[in-house]
Symmetry: C2
Subunit: 401 residues, 2 copies
């Protein structure tokens, strides 16, 4: 096995450089940041060329750096667009890591490695837009017609800096496997004092909006036993949901009531209506199904017992993704070799482009810790030693494929 | 005992007439409704004169109709201002009832009875403004400086139609007792199929704003055991509060969580903060005190057990008011005579001007049913037979004083 000797200084310098363009992303171009965004993308393409890779752009705007020759290569990447107030590592780390491993492998005579920066992962148009189109999960024409909050279509926003080739298909069949390294965006590794997470699966997500409608009334003149209080319904519902979920979940299962809207929302009025969302995530479809039943049955029972009307809407579902078991073992071996005793196997609670890639090829992922679990914030950060360590694990795993 | 023979037709016609001015009230004058409000107030003063009463206005704008002579009289009244989208009976019923009983008593040679329409009961400036000043609970200058939502002072808004006397003190010492009849504004009588409520006390009100602050986090990547979820704190708190209150309340005690604001209130984010109000009402100060302890102790315990920070603010308290026991018995005797078996003794869950009057003289109140408990709504209504019956009970009780 040829060792792929990455250059830590180069990796960190590239990450720092990308940051200087202003966290505004390198994909779809917003009018207000057009200059910075085109410059960032142009710089990234130039770094791919300097690494000995051939730059390609596909019709939805995914940016590839391909090794010379035609044989199938390993693809490593992530996204380099960002949330409006996002941090410097969410996505960008995986792209720069892929660039450095591809460069170092070419230099070391290791396996053929390509890099990709997927378009619009963060959802200006829809979540994981670029990898969805590339993997055949979303039709190109459909994606191009999507609009952002300002009504701009993806087609219009998808511009390239001077010097890039004309967009052309980059078929998934060119690649033998997909690897992604990403910050955890959660507190598990940081809390445990561990440095590497070997991802076994990406959890599925279900969510539903619920509405309890009771009767709005005077908070002084309406006796408790004649009330149909929507907030009391919400309280009893969530308490019961917690109790019923407790019987079937694993420590990795999560559920959240993150949005609550009370009407009329005045301290002297018995609340007549509450709208809220329940979202639940787990790696197993059977468990997600069972949770859906519990969400619905419990809502019907509580509503009936409290004289409330129940409406459900907006049921949404994203299937869980399992990483390739062989690749997971390679990642685990590399983690144990490079960071013995300070890594763990874990699920990814967040969605990633890797989930789309897995429709077309074997896929695996690595995590590095997020300080205090913070992401989607300017405070997002990871120890520089951990950033380097993660890419060393990635390079070692790639070298053995 | 001289019978006071009220004229049901006249009572109902006056109520209907007051309604034609547009539910905009007869007190403090809003620029947009100036003509209608001054006309309504002018009409009310004229009806007092036609009933043989002398019209008086005090400095805060309470409108009195006084019987001839100087001896102490019974005062009957309520308010004739209204909520912006309020109904036709809330307040107006008690004023027109007082007018009719005063008129009929004068005609029948019964006791001396005066009528009052208190200024700004509904709280354009502050709740029960007119009766608070009259009863010495609020300084006139302080009241006059109060502003409404548009920044208009009460002093400026307090205008009188042509033909009214100059404002002058109308001392509480002129009156021997205060009686008020009002719609219940709740569902108790209507649900029970009863026609008269003899009020024994007006409940005290306490309220407090609470804030639980946890940690805002990603709803996918933050395991349940590492969350500090403010909405889960709210749920556990209200459930525990319900359980602890259950041990100490009476069927007439009420408590309400009517206002809830979640931050950042997004379905994919573990909520980091929730602000909410708890309001509780009861007729006994000792029970209100015990409930305050429970509200606070439970909040501290739940916050500590869930790793949340707790802030409390805006504690507000309005003391309970007990009706005069002798007057309550007179009201009860009259109710049993006029509406045998279809009345009950009950607390008032809403505040009324009568609470202020009780600081200066013996006070009692009557309720008539509100259809489906609805008030502060255009749908507010009471059966006309019940409106007449209520005033018959009132007149009979007054005749015996």
């Amino acid at each position: 096995m040829t060792r792929i000797a990455i250059d830590p200084e180069r990796l960190l310098a590239d990450l720092d450089k990308l940051r200087t363009f202003g966290q505004c992303g390198t994909g779809v171009v917003r009018p207000a940041y057009a200059e910075a965004e085109l410059a960032a993308r142009g710089w990234l393409a130039e770094r791919m060329r300097e690494a000995g890779l051939e730059v390609a752009v596909d019709p939805v705007g995914n940016l590839f750096g391909l090794p010379p020759g035609d044989e199938a290569s390993i693809l490593i990447g992530s996204h380099s667009d960002s949330q409006p107030e996002g941090g410097w590592l969410d996505g960008a780390y995986g792209v720069i890591a892929g660039l450095e491993v591809a460069r170092a492998s070419l230099e070391s005579g290791g396996p053929r490695i390509a890099v990709v920066s997927f378009q619009d992962e963060e959802g200006r148009f829809t979540t994981l837009t670029g990898s969805s189109v590339w993997a055949g999960q979303l039709a190109l024409a459909e994606a191009q017609a999507l609009t952002d909050d300002e009504g701009i279509t993806l087609e219009k926003a998808c511009r390239q800096p001077d010097g890039l080739p004309a967009p052309a298909e980059v078929a998934p069949e060119r690649f033998s496997s997909f690897l992604e390294i990403h910050i955890e965006q959660g507190p598990v590794l940081d809390t445990a004092g561990e440095r590497i997470g070997v991802v076994e699966n990406i959890v599925g997500i279900r969510s539903e909006r619920l509405r309890f409608t009771g009767e709005q009334n005077h908070a002084g003149t309406t006796p408790m036993h004649l009330r149909r209080d929507a907030v009391q319904g919400l309280v009893r519902y969530i308490a019961e949901l917690n109790a019923r979920f407790a019987d079937i979940v694993t420590p990795a299962t999560v559920w959240t009531v993150g949005h609550v809207a009370v009407h009329p929302n005045a301290s002297s009025i018995v609340p007549g209506q509450v709208d809220f969302t329940v979202q639940w995530r787990d790696a197993e479809t059977a468990r997600l199904d069972r949770m859906t039943e519990i969400v619905r049955d419990t809502a019907s029972e509580i509503a009936a017992s409290m004289g409330l009307d129940l409406e459900r809407s907006g049921y949404a579902t994203i299937a869980p993704t399992h990483c390739d078991p062989i690749l997971v073992e390679r990642m685990a071996e590399a983690a144990e070799a490079v960071a013995p005793g300070t890594w763990r196997r874990m699920p990814s609670g967040a969605l990633h482009d890797a989930a789309n890639a897995s429709y077309r090829m074997p896929m695996a992922m690595l995590f590095v810790p997020s300080k205090r679990g913070i992401s989607h914030s300017f405070e997002e950060d990871t120890d520089r030693g951990d950033l380097v360590l993660g890419v060393e694990v990635l390079a070692r795993a790639a070298a053995g494929l």
